[in-house]
């Protein structure tokens, strides 16, 4: 089972908190804050799982997810969407675009750990 998580999120304190939680749980966490260059980061250092915020500077998480699923190498890469927008239509859109899970902010730390573990197990 892979151990590399790429967190694409633009809020520094949330990045720090999630990175800390997952690092303590044994995952290697890479982070990226910009939507425009997120795909470059994915291609440069392919992760085993992506945690992807929806509202990012430059480009939305939905657009990035669409690009991820368009590339054969990442077609089955586990992606967990993270958003402050909990509306049903956003959840439906995320799942339709191929997200494996949709988590609404504010989340519990335990949920983050549990779903990362679950998605990694399902992918392996």
């Amino acid at each position: 089972m892979g151990r590399r998580v790429l967190l694409i999120e633009d809020e520094p304190n949330i990045i720090e908190a999630i990175s800390f939680i997952l690092s303590r749980d044994g995952w290697t966490v890479h982070t990226h804050e910009d939507g425009t260059t997120a795909m470059d980061k994915v291609r440069a250092t392919p992760p085993d799982l992506i945690i992807l915020d929806v509202m990012l500077p430059g480009r939305s998480g939905f657009d990035i997810l669409r690009d991820i699923r368009a590339e054969p190498d990442f077609a089955r890469l586990p992606v967990m969407m993270l958003t402050a927008r909990g509306q049903a239509k956003d959840r439906d859109l995320a799942l339709r675009l191929g997200a494996n899970h949709f988590m609404t902010k504010p989340f519990s730390n335990q949920d983050v750990k549990d779903y990362v573990r679950k998605l990694m197990e399902e992918a392996s």
């Binding site: 809020e11 949330i14 720090e16 908190a17 999630i18 939680i21 902010k105 504010p106 989340f107 730390n109």
Partner: protein, 436 residues
């Protein structure tokens, strides 16, 4: 059935209400009982002295027999009936309004209130859904809460965190809590404007606020009539206008400036006699003052009632048909909150820009109220080669014109409350009883 045609029914109702025999009323009015019977069944039209005699015999105001209920109240009652899930006999709305004007007024007022509240709900829903400022503020609050929750969760659940990390997380929580306080205050301020702004919140759109202000502050336009070159901003500062919303104030200043320009071009002292001389014909007045037609239509509608021309209403709409100014007169009370009847010349003018439209319009029910309408749609922006013109349509509505040779347009207020079943412009079924 038109109101005047219901006069006989009203006479019969009054007589029966008072428990007087037909023969007694007939004798008091100097006619035979059989003739009164024909009148009461609307088989003979009456007016003049006979109407007054019958009114005297019944001890009622002749107008209450001939005119029936206030058309706006009957319209309001029909609109209220249209909301009802079960069919209501709307044909008798006028009877009800005539016999119980107080209750009818209450029904119409409550319908108007429900209409306004529904519009407010729609406006608030739109605001919640589409306002980027609100969405941004909520996002910021949730982001700060998320960060605090995640960081506090780490500190609360892990005793083995070293001192440097603990200090770092404490600082993060402190920063996020400050940010949350600021964002929360901004959000509360956004959702709950300060007390002095409450007056403006009584109006859903700034246009209504402007119209209400002009109705209340009648001397404002009189002052502009006398001083059309004065600065509108300076003038407005002299009025009790601090309760105007920012949007309302902006629209009012624009309205004042436009009115002042119309006055400069067509001063009341010369415009009023010219309007009489032209018998209110806008085209004649436009030629006389070398003014454009929309300005003449606005100027005619701005004349005070004491000028003695027929009552005149005015509607101005943008290219979508949304009303940006409305001066109502009895019988002409379109709603801002429901889509109107597309047959009004206000809207047909939009399909033929720059071409004046003159049409007589007759409304259903309510005494078949008739209006002569003068409308024209013109670009409100200067012509240029890079963009299509933005149109504005203006319609003057003159009450009770003399019958003309052309069949009037059979328009309505809105499809939902319009009884005309056979109408090419119908976009949705009517919720009230219809007729062909």
């Amino acid at each position: 059935m038109a109101t005047h045609a219901m006069t006989g029914s009203r006479i019969r109702e009054r007589r029966l209400d008072q428990g007087i025999r037909q023969a007694d009323v007939a004798a008091a009015a100097g006619i035979s009982a059989s003739y009164l019977n024909l009148i009461e069944h609307n088989k003979r039209r009456i007016g003049g002295k006979l109407l007054q005699s019958l009114a005297r015999a019944l001890d009622v105001d002749p107008a209450s027999l001939s005119q029936g209920a206030e058309p706006a109240i009957v319209d309001g009652m029909r609109a209220a009936a249209a909301r009802n899930a079960h069919p209501i006999d709307t044909d008798r709305a006028e009877d009800l309004a005539t016999r119980f004007p107080g209750w009818a007024g209450l029904i119409a007022a409550q319908e108007s209130r429900v209409d306004a509240l529904e519009a407010e709900v729609r406006a608030l829903r739109d605001r919640m859904t589409h306002d980027p400022a609100l969405a941004g503020a909520l996002h910021n609050v949730i982001t700060a809460v998320t960060s605090i929750r995640a960081t506090a969760g780490i500190l609360a659940s892990d005793d083995t965190i070293d001192a440097d990390w603990q200090r770092r997380f404490h600082i993060n929580i402190n920063d996020d809590s400050r940010r949350l306080a600021v964002e929360s205050e901004a959000l509360v301020a956004y959702l709950d404007p300060p007390a002095q702004d409450t007056t403006s919140r009584d109006y859903l759109v700034g246009f209504e606020e402007v119209e209400a202000f002009l109705t209340r502050e009648t001397k404002l336009l009189d002052w502009i009539e006398a001083h059309p070159t004065a600065n509108p901003e300076t003038l407005l500062n002299q009025y009790d206008a601090p309760h105007l919303s920012r949007e309302g104030r902006t629209l009012l200043l624009a309205h004042m400036a436009r009115f002042a320009a119309d006055v400069c071009l067509m001063p009341k002292a010369t415009f009023t006699p010219a309007a009489f001389g032209a018998q209110g014909d806008p085209a004649v007045l436009a030629a006389h003052f070398d003014a454009d037609l929309p300005a003449v239509l606005r100027r005619l509608a701005s004349l005070p009632p004491d000028v003695n021309l027929a009552p005149m209403g005015l509607a101005i709409a943008d290219q979508t048909g949304a009303l940006t100014y409305l001066k109502t007169i009895p019988g002409f009370t379109p709603s801002r909150y429901t889509a109107g009847c597309p047959l009004w010349p206000l809207f047909t003018a939009l399909s033929q820009p720059m071409r004046p439209v003159k049409s007589e319009v007759v409304l259903p029910g309510q005494a078949g109220a008739r209006f002569m309408c003068y409308a024209i749609a013109v670009p409100k922006t200067p012509a240029d080669f890079s963009s299509a013109p933005v149109l504005e349509t203006t319609m003057l509505v003159v009450s009770d014109p003399a019958p003309g040779p052309v069949e009037p347009i059979k328009a309505g207020v809105s499809c939902r409350v319009c009884p005309r079943a056979q109408c090419a412009a119908r976009r949705e079924p009517s919720a009230i009883n219809t007729f062909s």
